[in-house]
């Protein structure tokens, strides 16, 4: 029962880093909500790109430039298909989730005026808080916070009450990176649309834990980071509905985003290029494509199901530990668990877990308002991915008990 299934061993074998030892102990990597490891396919793709086709893209007449352009644009198409968008011009390459949200705050924000309302929730990552605070300061928009319940679920009643015809945007995380809560975004999107508000989904966490279909969701924007879905750092995706992207002013200015530049009058390129100024992270885009190709090559349904099993398994074991409190107890949860043990500081536990080869994250997880809500300085967070196993959970629980012993 606790033996790692072959398909998980199979997936695991693609990830070279998982063979690393830390402090002479085999690494147990439970920091997947922060960043995921990369399959060999992604690493090889980067290698091959730089060794045989590296070139600047678009506009190039020469062979390498044409190949690199094609591969980059093919990656865009693959990403479009992966998230179920209908047209590739709805896929904007960004630096990551944070960059994507800032792009929206800045560009869509230009279309907002004083008194317009933006709704976020009390469980948002700083990346989905601070851009709106900056916009509020710049433009006089009003930022409203959807409250949450003690179990880490959204207060949907309050949400519905907060919606009104001044609401221009609801920007909300699909899955909380601290609590694991899966938010009812279908309902949120539906209700928001009823009052004419647009909806931005922060998919930083959800992208790695299940299949996303932006068309079915009917969200207006969806953002995520490549590094959280087995791809490289420095690349991310902003999906936006074509009809909306087209009304939005450009974000950054520079090469590639223009149609024609003169000192008198500059006109801008079509979407998505209008939002992609400068030489893009070419290999970032291509290797993100390879990461999705990898996912398409495995049975993700099975893998995602096992992830859920892992969560249950870990939570059950954790709850056996005296004075251990789990934050985020929604019935709908993804595979991460945040907790504290009595009055022990999360940093103390994290440090001693690390010394036993277990990588978890401790601290506020870039959700300080959520920490304030619970009145704690931080939590210990173990977050799982498709290559983790119950055997690793066992090691983690064992190490945790030892740490608690030392610290009590």
């Amino acid at each position: 029962m606790n033996q790692t299934p072959d398909y998980i061993e199979g997936i695991r074998s693609h990830f070279p880093l998982l063979k690393t030892k830390v402090h002479d102990k085999p690494l147990v990597y439970f920091d997947n909500a922060a960043t995921t490891q990369k399959p060999q396919k992604v690493i090889d793709r980067i290698n091959a790109y730089y060794s045989t086709e590296n070139s600047n893209i678009h506009r190039g007449v020469h062979h390498l430039s044409q190949i690199a352009t094609k591969d980059y644009e093919d990656a865009r198409i693959r990403i479009k298909n992966y998230i179920g968008a209908s047209k590739e011009n709805e896929i904007v390459f960004t630096k990551g989730t944070t960059d994507g949200i800032n792009l929206i705050a800045s560009s869509l924000g230009e279309l907002m005026t004083k008194g317009d309302e933006v709704l976020i929730s009390a469980m948002e990552h700083h990346s989905n808080i601070v851009p709106w605070q900056l916009l509020a300061e710049r433009k006089g928009i009003v930022l409203k916070i959807i409250p949450i319940h003690q179990d880490g679920t959204l207060d949907m009643l309050s949400f519905e009450e907060m919606l009104n015809d001044k609401t221009k945007l609801v920007s909300i995380t699909h899955i909380s990176n601290t609590l694991g809560t899966i938010n009812p975004i279908e309902t949120i999107i539906d209700r928001a649309h009823k009052v004419g508000a647009k909806v931005l989904i922060d998919g930083a966490q959800s992208i790695q834990h299940g299949q996303i279909n932006v068309t079915k969701l009917n969200c207006d924007f969806f953002v995520f980071s490549g590094h959280k879905i087995f791809g490289p750092t420095g690349i991310g995706i902003l999906y936006g509905k074509e009809s909306i992207l087209e009304t939005m002013p450009p974000y950054q200015g520079g090469g590639d985003m223009i149609k024609r530049v003169s000192f008198e009058k500059t006109s801008f390129n079509e979407i998505p290029f209008k939002f992609e100024a400068g030489t893009p992270n070419i290999i970032g885009g291509i290797a993100l494509g390879s990461a999705l190709e990898f996912l398409e090559s495995i049975d993700t349904n099975q893998a995602f199901a096992y992830e859920k099993e892992l969560l249950k398994y870990a939570e059950e074991a954790l709850l056996q530990i005296a004075n251990l409190k789990i934050y985020g107890t929604s019935a709908l949860k993804t595979s991460l668990v945040s907790f504290n043990v009595g009055n022990i500081h999360p940093f103390d536990i994290g440090t001693l877990l690390d010394k036993q080869g277990i990588a978890v994250r401790t601290g506020h997880h870039c959700t300080q308002p959520l920490m304030d809500f619970y009145g704690i300085p931080g939590t210990i967070r173990a977050s799982f991915s498709i290559y983790n196993s119950k055997e690793e959970v066992n090691k983690f629980i064992h190490a945790l008990k030892r740490a608690i012993n030392v610290l009590s």
């Binding site: 893209i57 506009r59 007449v61 062979h63 044409q66 352009t69 094609k70 290029f273």
Partner: protein, 138 residues
């Protein structure tokens, strides 16, 4: 697919098979460009322009007795040669054929690189424009 439409494509493929060297193929493309009816600079109209990032193409479409007739020009002679290839295949065809039928010769003669999807000076954009023109008469 109409016989002539297929024949025209196959004959281009055949012509290109003669040459091993890319330079020779391009010499042929350039010669084709010289043979088609151009649009003199004075007669070029803004609405005919397919503006690319590298070169510009002017495309004129007419219908003549249920058959399409294209003429085109470009500031780059290779670009003009490439559109000449398309014109040679499309001219004299019914609009329906142009809208519906596939151009398979492009891949076979190895001009895919001109199919760059990202910029407007590629073959794709020209084909698209020609189909749009044909669609007006369907």
């Amino acid at each position: 697919m109409s016989a002539s439409f297929k024949e025209k494509q196959d004959s281009i493929i055949e012509d290109f098979q003669v040459f091993d060297d890319w330079m020779d193929k391009y010499e042929m493309i350039i010669d084709l460009g010289k043979d088609i009816q151009g649009i003199s600079v004075e007669k070029r109209k803004d609405e005919q322009l397919i503006d690319g990032c590298q070169s510009r193409v002017w495309l004129k479409a007419e219908i003549n007795n249920t058959r399409m007739h294209f003429s085109a020009d470009s500031d780059a002679i290779i670009t003009k040669g490439i559109i000449a290839l398309l014109i040679n295949v499309y001219n004299g065809e019914k609009p329906e054929t142009i809208v519906k039928e596939n151009l398979y010769f492009i891949n076979q003669i190895g001009l895919q690189e001109h199919l760059s999807p990202t910029r407007a000076n590629g073959l794709l954009e020209m084909v698209k424009r020609m189909k749009i023109e044909a669609l007006k008469y369907v």
